[in-house]
């Protein structure tokens, strides 16, 4: 999986978590909370959906890695790739 594909999967989740938001112009290097109406409960939902849909665990200590799309891709892409090769 590429980082761009990873961002797309994260955006798919955000589209369900924050269905009123326009996700067409999300800036990848800007914190998600600074450009979208997302609160701490929503981030818990994102973590839950990563677990449910993709079998990916994000420990609480790493929540800050989900701050922006870029940081999500940086942090999650290796996890996605490990999951797909059964090394998760």
């Amino acid at each position: 999986m590429t980082k761009e594909e990873c961002k797309k999967l994260v955006l798919d989740i955000i589209a369900d978590i924050a269905p009123d938001e326009d996700l067409g112009n999300v800036k990848p290097d800007v914190k998600l909370r600074d450009q979208l109406q997302l609160d701490s409960m929503d981030f818990l939902d994102i973590v839950m959906e990563l677990r449910k849909r993709h079998g990916i665990e994000v420990p609480e200590a790493d929540y800050m890695q989900l701050a922006s799309l870029d940081s999500c891709a940086e942090y999650l892409t290796p996890k996605f790739n490990a999951a797909s090769t059964g090394k998760a």
């Binding site: 369900d16 978590i17 924050a18 269905p19 109406q37 939902d45 839950m48 449910k52």
Partner: protein, 412 residues
């Protein structure tokens, strides 16, 4: 002790056959059922009353996602009730607004959904949603209204099985009389069609309706009735003290004349006609009336074989010997049993009779059960009444809770 007079100044509702008082009433007069067939998890096809209001009229998609169906129904009804009342909402002190909602149950839908969700993950509880607790606390429906409307006064629910809709209204009136609030948003709500457990339990009890045509499934008083059609719905009233309503020139739908709540203390499930008739009698006394003053009786009858007969016995005993018995009708024949919303919705269906003097019927009575044949039944076709000055609304529930509410025409 002199009580303040309490009046109804707004109505907001969603029923399986209407999303406003006007639409609901029109369908009750035209004989239009709102019952349809749904597919329910584990149960399969079953008749149920489903509401079709626009949930995005007053909520964002995210609020719908996080909240509950009961919360969404409550918000819709509360907003409509406020709007209908003509209250100047912007200037109103929201500390002085109370939300009092009757519920039969709450939390079954959300708990069943979560258990189903984790069943897909071998029941590993790390997949259990953090939304579970705010969704299932018993005050959820009232709390969601407070969040949506920015109401900072008391907001809670009243658990009273299927007597709850009446009890929401009664409690609202009591809080106004105590001076706790200046406006009460009071009534009842139900999301019960989302829980297979309620359907399955009624089925195990032999009390779940079935029929090839879902619109014919709910048939109180009919010889072939075979049980309850479970429904969702909501009805919330704006209640005010009379002097406040008059001061702002509000339209007044009717006045709370009297009420009574009692308990059978005899069985978990089976009703007790003696206590029911006592409840009706004492409500009439509480209203300062006699049985001859009552013009319409809305029955609780749910179309169970025994329950309908027992309520007819109870009502028959109260109104026996009157030269002109009250007109007796039933709303569940159109919408099924809207559980916590039932009492409040069923009252709303009869409120316009103060204006048009038409009594909506009980539909689906193809062959009247002789054991339900009491004087005054209005069957299958609406009837014009000579006089409609007082409505008596019955709602009874499991664990033997009975409620009777009497609304009278407002006369200054």
């Amino acid at each position: 002790m002199k009580h303040s007079r309490i009046v109804i100044t707004g109505v907001g509702l969603t029923a399986p056959n209407g999303n406003s008082l006007g639409e609901f009433r029109q369908n009750l007069l035209r004989g239009v059922s709102g019952v349809e067939r749904i597919e329910l998890r584990y149960i399969g096809p079953v008749p149920a009353g489903v509401c079709h209001f626009d949930q995005l009229k007053y909520q964002k998609k995210k609020e719908v996602r996080i909240g509950t169906r009961a919360g969404g129904i409550s918000i819709y009804c509360a907003r409509e009730a406020v709007q209908d009342s003509g209250l100047k909402w912007e200037g109103l002190d929201k500390n002085r607004v109370g939300i009092y909602l009757g519920i039969t149950e709450h939390g079954n839908v959300e708990t069943e959904n979560e258990i189903h969700a984790i069943s897909l993950f071998k029941y590993d509880t790390k997949f259990w949603s953090h939304h579970h607790n705010p969704r299932t606390v018993a005050n959820n429906p009232a709390g969601e209204v407070s969040l949506n409307l920015g109401i900072t006064g008391p907001a809670y629910t009243l658990g009273a099985a299927c007597a709850a809709g009446n009890i929401g209204l009664i409690h609202g009136a009591q809080m106004l009389r105590l001076g706790e609030v200046d406006v009460a948003l009071a009534g009842g709500v139900s999301e019960s069609i989302g829980t297979f457990g309620i359907f399955a339990a009624f089925k195990s009890q032999g009390a779940l309706a079935s029929h090839d045509d879902p619109k014919k499934a709910s048939r109180p008083f009919d010889k072939a009735r075979n049980g309850i059609v479970v429904s969702e719905g909501g009805c919330i009233y704006t209640l005010e003290r009379l002097e406040d309503a008059l001061a702002r020139g509000a339209r007044i739908y009717g006045e709370i004349a009297g009420y009574y709540i009692n308990s059978d203390a005899t069985d978990y499930v089976l009703p007790n006609p003696e206590r029911q008739s006592e409840c009706v009698r004492r409500a009439i006394v509480h209203a300062g009336m006699t049985p001859a003053d009552i013009d319409i009786v809305n029955t609780h009858a749910t179309a169970t074989p025994q329950g309908d007969i027992q309520e007819c016995q109870a009502i028959g005993a109260v109104f026996a010997g009157l030269a002109e018995p009250p007109h007796i009708n039933n709303t569940k024949s159109f919408i099924g049993h809207a559980m916590g919303a039932a009492g409040a919705l069923e009252l709303a269906g009869n409120l316009p009779s103060f204006q048009d003097r038409i009594v909506h019927p009980t539909i689906n009575v193809d062959e009247l059960d002789p054991q339900c044949d009491i004087p005054g039944l209005v069957l299958n076709q609406p009837r014009e009444a000579k006089r409609v000055d007082a409505l008596l609304n019955n709602s009874f529930g499991m664990l033997g809770i009975n409620s009777t509410l009497i609304i009278k025409r407002f006369i200054a």
